[in-house]
């Protein structure tokens, strides 16, 4: 039986389509992702907390969902919008259909709307708050709810997605993550106590980051992003990793304070929110992008090598270039809008990127960053 669902935006626009996944009513910032593959990774990326994600590619669900290609224990996003949800799952690894998966995790889905019209609206007018409902069909009321919804700015969404407890990470990269010929050296050949120790501050971390850190040869401990610097140092890290995570970096005082205290203690590498927090800790400011960068085709130039990396991205905030303190230098820029994509501390082995070198979903062009971090951490351990 077909169920109707509606998506109302704060500007008064309402899209009516078919519900899929779970029933319910959710609010969030409506954003779009332009990646043509990887919906499962996107669904399970905790950085989408508080957002209703629209896929620009219209055919979604084609290859189903499996237990391996996940970036966290479950989807954290508010809602999922597609043009066409496949009714079958066709792939030798598929274990269930997308619809079943969303249903099981209580995620409200909307299909059959003019997603391109929605995307164009967001592009032209900027990111908007919205409400997605299978329960309320009163459009005026839905628009009012959208206007009244909290949005992302100034909100601490990290606390909603951080893990409860520290854990030791021991899952390597998926065998599908590499060509047979260039699989990285097996980390398990080095005894754990001889490996450098990386403590990863998890603000809503995509698991592929931890898999990369582990596979690069490190001993990895994942701790909640809310942890204090003293608690982090108790783990005697050779390096600290700052993860991605949802929302606005500015309200996360505790994390900024923690990082400020860790900066000169050991090598630090940050990704996405981790990059923003590191920059803020060094004195920079962030700003909200009109509609963000979300996709797997964003060109980033490494200013040192002048090489271009095609990157996976997911951020609605960025670091303001004019606010950058002298201690930080820009290492990477986005070729589309020339925003900052990476910074490095001028004196310390501390650096970060705005994009996602762990890919998943997305291209592997930037994996070298994990190798660089591992080398920095190894050196620190020997020193």
């Amino acid at each position: 039986m077909k169920r109707v669902a509606k998506l109302a935006l704060e500007d008064g626009t309402v899209f009516t389509g078919m519900a899929f996944g779970a029933d319910g009513e959710v609010d969030g910032e409506v954003c779009f992702n332009t990646s043509m593959t990887g919906y499962q990774e996107i669904l399970t990326d905790p950085s989408y907390r508080g957002q209703i994600v629209t896929m620009t590619y219209p055919e979604i669900g084609n290859y189903g969902v499996n237990d391996e290609d996940v970036e966290s224990p479950r989807p954290f996003l508010s809602g999922f919008v597609v043009r066409e949800a496949s009714r079958i799952a066709s792939n030798f690894r598929a274990q269930q259909r997308l619809d079943e998966y969303l249903h099981r995790h209580g995620i409200v889905g909307l299909a059959g709307i003019d997603t391109r019209a929605l995307v164009r609206r967001i592009r032209i007018h900027g990111a908007m708050k919205g409400v997605l409902s299978t329960q309320d069909t009163d459009e005026r009321r839905l628009v009012e709810k959208a206007k009244a919804s909290p949005g992302l700015i100034g909100r601490d969404l990290v606390r909603e997605v951080v893990p409860q407890e520290p854990r030791t990470w021991d899952e390597p990269l998926s065998p599908w993550a590499h060509l047979s010929g260039d699989a990285p050296a097996d980390a398990n050949t080095i005894p754990p106590d001889q490996r450098p120790h990386i403590v990863a501050l998890d603000f809503g971390m995509k698991w592929n980051i931890a898999r990369h850190l582990f596979t690069s040869g490190a001993r990895v401990t994942v701790v909640p992003g809310t942890m204090s610097a003293d608690d982090v140092l108790r783990y005697e890290p050779d390096g600290v990793f700052l993860s991605n995570g949802p929302g606005d970096p500015e309200p996360l005082d505790y994390a900024i304070e923690t990082i400020r205290r860790l900066v000169d203690r050991c090598p630090i590498f940050g990704i996405c929110l981790g990059h923003q927090l590191l920059s803020l800790a060094c004195g920079a400011r962030s700003f909200k992008l009109k509609f963000g960068h979300r996709g797997a085709n964003q060109p980033v130039m490494n200013l040192k090598t002048k090489r271009v990396e095609i990157t996976s991205q997911n951020h609605g905030f960025a670091i303001d270039a004019d606010s950058l303190p002298d201690v930080l230098e820009v290492t990477h820029i986005n070729l589309n809008d020339e925003t900052i994509e990476g910074v490095r501390h001028r004196e310390l082995p501390v650096y970060s990127v705005q994009y996602h070198p762990e890919a998943s979903a997305g291209p592997h062009d930037s994996e070298y960053l994990f190798g660089e971090f591992f080398r920095a951490v190894s050196q620190a351990r020997q020193a």
Binding site: F32, T34, S35, M36, T37, G38, Q40, E41, T56, Y57, P58, E59, N62, Y63, N66, E68, D69, R83, E84, S86, R87, I88, S90, N91, F92, R93, I113, D114, T115, R116, A117, V119, R120, R123, S174, W176, A177, H178, L179, S180, G181, D182, G295, A296, N297, Q298, P299, M301, K306, R307, V308, I310, L335, N336, A359, S360, A361, G362, P363, H364
Partner: protein
């Protein structure tokens, strides 16, 4: 790093005539490259033998050589032009092979010409299977098990190792010629032998069969800083085993998880780096085992390809243009993305729609050929469609195919529910073996109740695709169950349209008319909206107006600009035999003309290979099927001031009446006039009025009428269906038995239209004329005398400008007749007339065979031969600028001799008889230019791949009618030192005239016979004019064998005489004189062309 300053002049090689596996896509890529390099200030030297291309227009390159694509000829051009660099990667396999020949012959080194884009060692590594395999193993990628061999014995050893079935694939051929699967020993031996022969380097690859695996393609670009991006992924609907050119293909890939896709992306990057393509685009093909995900690299093309043209049209990213810029030193990030302007070319396009390409076949032209689809490409064209979902794009592509279907069944061609409904057994058979009809049988299978799983077992088409087809059938059943249009609610009607159902299909389902469905859905507000193709899924604003239709909420088409006229041009759809690049050339010129006049030009076409579907050819581009419904949808939205239907061949003409009925203003010659030219009676009256003759003729709607008309007309008679292009089902009958057979066939093809019966004029010379008329004046642009006699389809015969044998007064008479016809008919724009000139009782009588008030296939040839851009001139006339206002006051007088020769796909269809007839079978054309007819003819032969031998043995076998000429022919050949062999009859005629000849047995006379001579390589040229026809006749087998063994075979006496003249002339000129077209025409003519 910006452009290289150390090179100044660059040579580009085109791909030559349109053949199976190499079509307009290389005109598209070459044209883009010319523009890209010239806008950087480089001097471009272009060589291509194909006059129908846009790239050979005199204003596209600085120096344009329309010369044979042979290394010795190109070496002459290189010596003359001394370019600094050669860009070999934009002219298809032909361009690549030619560049390699020049390299191997030491020409490039001798002249200091640098190969840019890809070096010779890179090309060798990508193209030679063993080198490629080693390279892949070095980077840890799997390839098929197997080996390249140079003999049958070695091949058998490999087969023993890997087991049958296995694939046999010759090296260095285009479109995978000769690549096939051997299931048993006998097949294996035959395929290996043929492959060794067909490969220019006499190598074949024997490898494991991975039939049934999923097939993918990746379009990759790399710059000199080693930045690599994927432009597009393509998934083949038909699994491994069907050549990708013959497969339905879909972009982007649909059934790969991100993990699998990224692994394929990593592999693509590794491949292009390992092979070492320095800059430009490459195409890499992969196979994936659907059960395990095991990935195998199939092959790599280190150049732009058919798939890269498709990828360009599918994404909006201009691969060829960017490849050209990268070849001269730019980095990807230094180049702007034209579509978004604000972003760079260094990114990976992302799309928010689904693209489906469907190949078009021509098996009806080759009934003797094996219609099974294999790893050897057999399709002659393709159509592409864009939709928001696979279902929509798939149905749009099916109707864009123009084979009488308007989607996935429920139309005039649907056999389901008719007495011809296939049985389950037939369905299973059609599914199990890939064939051109399989797509329709997928529907029959679903209708018959077969499940997706059952169909998958038979076809190995991915269940995701099959389930989408099942959804279409379910929708069809729901609509059918509703019973009538009134019973269907708005939401369901919209959903049906979103599923891609055409009004025609809905009309069939609801037993009503297309017009009624259209009116009803417009009443309900279910109308098409148009979305932009923008490379970025709307993330950035798009400036390039390239659109497709869908049924969504938001429309993105731009409003009409106040005070600016907007004119729509309808293109020709997928290439087919009889309608191809020539018409696309005309459409492009129409667009160029309109833009010069400041008119907003709107192109509508569905053929991804073409220049017309390049986003900067027209002001607006609509990538849409050419059906009345789809065109009307655009018309409704855009409200153009007029529509041009004259230039796209039969496709738009077939829509003209329907469009006019809907009130669409048709520009130029009226629809009535176009139709009247096809109406026998009205045409007769017209000829009477202007005092011209035509062969006796009649018209028949029934077999009885056909018999009585044939009695009146007399034999031999020419039978053909009306309103059909390319001489489909056109035949010459010598008696009643033949007549009845051919008339029956013609009725089938005519689809309700009558069949025409003409007296066939034997031994007449055929003449084609192209003219432009503005209502006040007629310019006769070109008079072409055919080499072959009347009776050979004009599209298949060679022809010459100016006439090479007709007396001047006859040519004048023909020109005058053309003028009278054009004025009398009220032509506004282009007109083509076909005449037959027959010498009767000592004087030349001119008969009118046919008048077509529209663009003809010969328009580009005439333009290249005379320097007059007649298509552009005609388009301006249609837009209201008279010939006088354009300053065109006289017929162009050609200063040199131009010969057009046709090129045939016979090598793709083993065993087919190659005798020419009234049904057109050529796919392409070449042009030879010289001061002398004989040399121009020689060049045309060379360009067509017919290498006239300089010495050796010539086999002569001439039908009774040709006997008078054979003596002269024989004498001249012997005088040049050739040895002659002949069978009984011809030998006797030669001996009686005292000409030395050896006799050879006919096939049925035992061994050694003619066939053995041929196989042993003892014959260098065959001149065989037919008395009988067909693959089963003795002579038919010889001709088919000539194709298989690559021995040139001339099948008409006229062509043989011309060839002898050419061979004589070639003895006098040791090197071929080459000259660019820019030097052949006075500057003034070319200035007018601008």
């Amino acid at each position: 790093m910006p452009r290289r300053d150390d090179i100044r002049k660059i040579m580009l090689i085109g791909s030559g005539p349109i053949v199976i596996g190499q079509a307009c896509e290389f005109d598209y890529s070459g044209t883009q490259a010319c523009k890209a390099l010239r806008e950087e200030g480089y001097e471009v030297v272009l060589v291509n033998s194909n006059p129908a291309t846009i790239m050979t227009d005199p204003n596209m390159a600085d120096r344009t050589y329309i010369e044979p694509l042979r290394w010795d000829v190109v070496a002459e051009i290189l010596r003359r032009e001394r370019p600094d660099a050669l860009l070999p990667t934009l002219g298809g396999q032909t361009g690549l092979n030619l560049a390699m020949d020049l390299h191997h012959q030491g020409v490039l080194e001798e002249l200091g010409v640098e190969m840019i884009g890809a070096r010779a060692d890179v090309i060798a590594k990508a193209e030679q299977r063993e080198l490629f395999k080693e390279a892949m193993e070095r980077i840890g990628l799997e390839v098929c098990r197997g080996r390249t061999v140079r003999s049958l014995e070695d091949a058998r050893r490999v087969a023993d190792e890997i087991g049958l079935p296995c694939v046999v694939r010759p090296s260095f051929t285009l479109g995978g010629t000769g690549s096939s699967v051997a299931y048993n020993r006998e097949e294996f031996d035959a395929l290996v032998s043929r492959g060794l022969k067909e490969s220019p380097v006499h190598e074949v690859l024997v490898e494991e069969s991975i039939h049934g695996w999923k097939e993918f393609e990746m379009e990759v670009m790399r710059d000199a800083d080693d930045n690599v991006v994927i432009i597009c992924s393509i998934e083949n609907f038909d699994p491994m085993g069907v050549h990708t050119g013959d497969s339905i293909t879909v972009a982007p890939a649909q059934t790969l998880t991100d993990k699998e896709y990224q692994r394929m992306r990593d592999a693509s990057l590794a491949v292009i780096r390992e092979i070492g393509v320095e800059t430009g685009g490459s195409n890499i093909q992969f196979a994936i085992d659907p059960r395990t995900g095991r990935m195998i690299v199939i092959e790599m093309n280190p150049r732009v390809s058919r798939s890269s043209a498709l990828a360009s049209k599918a994404t909006g990213f201009p691969i060829a243009k960017i490849a050209a810029k990268l070849a001269v030193g730019y980095r990807l990030h230094e180049l702007p993305n034209d579509i978004t302007r604000e972003t760079r070319a260094c990114f990976e396009p992302t799309i928010d729609y689904v693209v489906t390409k469907i190949p078009r076949f021509a098996f009806e032209k080759f009934p003797e050929a094996d219609a099974t689809l294999t790893t050897q490409m057999k399709s002659v064209g393709e159509t592409m469609a864009i939709g928001r979902t696979f279902k929509e794009s798939f149905q749009k592509a099916l109707r864009g195919l123009e084979v009488g279907s308007f989607g996935f069944g429920c139309d005039g061609k649907d056999l389901w529910g008719t007495p011809q409904q296939p049985s389950e057994e037939e369905i299973r058979a059609k599914l199990a073996t890939p064939n051109a009809e399989r797509v329709w049988y997928l529907r029959y299978a679903l209708k018959s109740g077969m499940s997706v799983d059952q169909i998958y077992e038979l076809t190995h088409i991915d269940p995701w695709f099959l389930d989408n087809l099942a959804e279409l059938v379910e929708m069809e059943d729901r609509l059918r169950a509703a019973g009538s249009l009134d019973a269907v609610d708005d939401a369901q009607l919209r959903e049906a349209k979103q599923f891609g159902f055409s009004d025609r299909q809905l009309a069939t389902l609801f037993c009503t008319t297309e017009q009624e469905v259209r009116a009803e859905r417009k009443r309900r507000g279910v109308v098409a909206t148009f979305k932009a193709v923008d490379t970025c899924a709307a993330e950035f604003e798009a400036y390039t107006p390239y659109y497709y239709s869908t049924y969504e909420e938001e429309d993105e088409t731009p409003a009409k600009q106040p005070g600016r006229r907007r004119i729509m041009i309808l293109g020709g759809g997928p290439n087919r035999i009889g309608q191809g690049i020539e018409f696309d050339y005309c459409c492009c010129h129409a667009s160029f003309a309109l833009r010069e006049m400041g008119i907003e030009s709107v192109m509508v076409n569905s053929n991804p290979e073409t220049v017309s579907t390049d986003y900067d050819t027209s002001d607006l581009l609509f990538f849409e099927p050419l059906t009345a419904e789809d065109v009307m949808n655009i018309y409704d939205r855009l409200q153009p001031d007029g529509v041009i239907v004259q230039f796209g061949g039969q496709t738009p003409l077939n829509l003209a009446r329907a469009l006019e009925t809907h009130g669409v203003p048709i520009l130029g010659t009226s629809v009535d006039t176009i139709e009247d030219a096809e109406d026998r009676e009205k045409f007769q009256q017209l000829l009477r009025r202007v005092g011209l003759k035509q062969p006796a003729n009649g018209i028949a709607r029934t077999m009885a009428q056909a018999r009585s008309e044939a009695d009146k007309v007399g034999f031999p008679a020419l039978v053909r269906p009306s309103f059909v292009l390319g001489g489909r089902a056109m035949e010459i009958c010598y008696d009643t038995v033949q007549l009845e057979r051919f008339v029956a066939e013609a009725f089938v093809v005519a689809q309700g239209q009558p069949v025409l019966i003409d007296r066939f004029l034997e031994d007449a010379t055929e003449v084609d004329v192209d003219a432009v008329c503005d209502g006040q004046r007629v310019v006769v642009c070109g008079v072409m005398e055919h080499i072959e006699e009347a009776g050979v389809h004009s599209g298949d015969s060679a022809c010459c400008i100016p006439p090479y044998s007709l007396p001047g007064p006859v040519v004048e008479e023909i020109k005058e007749a053309t003028r009278r016809l054009a004025m009398q008919m009220g032509v506004r724009g282009l007109m083509n007339v076909q005449y037959a000139v027959k010498k009767e009782d000592g004087r030349f009588n001119v008969y009118v065979l046919e008048v077509n008030p529209r663009a003809s296939r010969t328009v580009p040839f005439v333009a290249k031969a005379t320097g007059l851009p007649l298509a552009k001139v005609a388009a301006k006339v249609m837009a209201g600028v008279s010939l006088a206002e354009q300053g065109i006051d006289r017929d162009p007088i050609p200063s040199h001799v131009s010969v057009k020769e046709s090129v045939f796909p016979f090598s793709r269809f083993a065993g087919v008889d190659i005798v020419l007839g009234p049904e057109m079978r050529s796919t392409g054309e070449v042009m030879g230019i010289s001061e002398r007819f004989s040399i121009a003819f020689a060049k045309s032969q060379l360009a067509a791949g017919v290498v006239l031998p300089q010495e050796g043995t010539i086999f002569l076998s001439v039908a009774r009618r040709g006997k008078p000429h054979v003596v002269e022919l024989g004498r001249r050949l012997v005088a040049m030192g050739y040895r002659l062999v002949a069978t009984e009859g011809t030998a006797r005629a030669l001996e009686e005239a005292g000409i030395a000849v050896s006799r050879v047995k006919k096939i049925q006379e035992g061994n050694p016979n003619m066939l053995d001579y041929l196989i042993d390589g003892r014959i260098q040229l065959i001149i065989n004019t037919p008395s009988g026809k067909g693959a089963r006749t003795d002579e038919g087998r010889i001709r088919a064998a000539a194709v298989a063994y690559g021995v040139p075979c001339i099948t008409t006496m006229e062509a043989a005489l011309a060839a002898v003249r050419a061979m004589e002339a070639l003895r006098e000129e040791s090197t071929m004189h080459v000259q660019p077209v820019q030097d052949r025409f006075p500057k003034k003519t070319l200035a007018e062309a601008e």
